[in-house]
Amino acid sequence: MRSITKLSLVVAALVLTGTALQAQTNNASITATASVQTPINVVGAQQLNFGNVFPGVNKTIAATDLANAGRFDVTGQASTPVTLSFTLPATLSSGGNTMPIVSYTGVHALLVTQAGGVAFSPVAGATPTLSGTGALFVWVGAQVQPATNQVAGVYTGSIVMTVVY
């Protein structure tokens, strides 16, 4: 066999070997898919307003008081349960003076009119379900207890509501 023929044979063998080895690997792919739903949005829509308070006279705002109860408006994925939790102040402040705020009450409803509303304790939280349009309204009431020598002034505190799916 001539050298050139021998060389061709070896090269051909190498090529065939390489081709065969390449064919020993194969792959395929699949797809991971997810459909992310509407994020939750919470708006502090109305302040809890006690108005004028007199020293030594407790004042209560009911959660059903549409004019003065605090209100949060929630939007999110329609017909989906959520968990409500609250950070509630124990006192309101005016400069260095404080005034106790106690006895929190709550109502959640699917309509802003509070029709069909459900009472709950903000201290314990609640697990309502968003409406078919993804809405929920939450009202908060409480009682302030000014001392007989309560210093006059404007007292404020922050109520924080957290909503998660």
Binding site: K6, A13, L16, T19, I30, A32, T33, A34, S35, Q77
Partner: protein
């Protein structure tokens, strides 16, 4: 070099593919089913187990009868959604499963993040199942998200 030596070299080289081919069917990998998380709520992780018959991913492999095979994945770190929004996807140490009977109920778990060697059964047909966890942020943009999982199979 003598003629016999050249012939021997050629036979040896040609013998390699012949011996591999003799192991059985050609190697084929097929993506049968994707990993389906379905509806995912912002801030709420969604887990799909590899044993989930409806939502786990599945690859079917036809290959060597009784041969060792290397399985290696290319896994996404994130899924891509609307306007380029990204959502993390995590694969755990036992989120892949190998079934020599192609049954989702009879798997041996393995780590899809590491190349893994398995032995094919005598019929050369196996399945690989995949699970994962989607981790949407609390403000995750709503919409459809996708990611690609690639399985590469290599004869050893």
């Amino acid at each position: 070099m003598k003629r016999e030596s050249w012939v021997l070299i050629a036979v040896m080289l040609l013998g390699v593919p012949l011996s591999l081919a003799a192991q059985g069917k050609p190697l084929t990998v097929t993506g049968v089913r994707g990993v389906t998380f379905g509806a995912v709520l912002p801030g709420v992780p969604r887990v799909v187990l590899r044993t989930d018959p409806a939502n786990s991913g599945q690859f079917d492999i036809r290959g060597p009868k009784g041969g060792p095979v290397l399985l290696s994945f290319v896994l996404p770190l994130r899924m891509t959604g609307p306007a380029g929004a990204l959502m993390p996807i995590v694969f755990g140490a036992s989120d892949a499963g190998f079934s020599s009977t192609q049954s989702i109920g009879s798997q041996v778990g393995f780590d899809p993040r590491q190349p893994t060697t398995v032995i094919f059964p005598s019929n050369g047909n196996v399945s690989v199942f995949v699970g994962a966890t989607a981790n949407p942020g609390t403000n995750q943009r709503a919409g459809a998200y996708t990611g690609t999982i690639i399985l590469t199979v290599t004869y050893l």
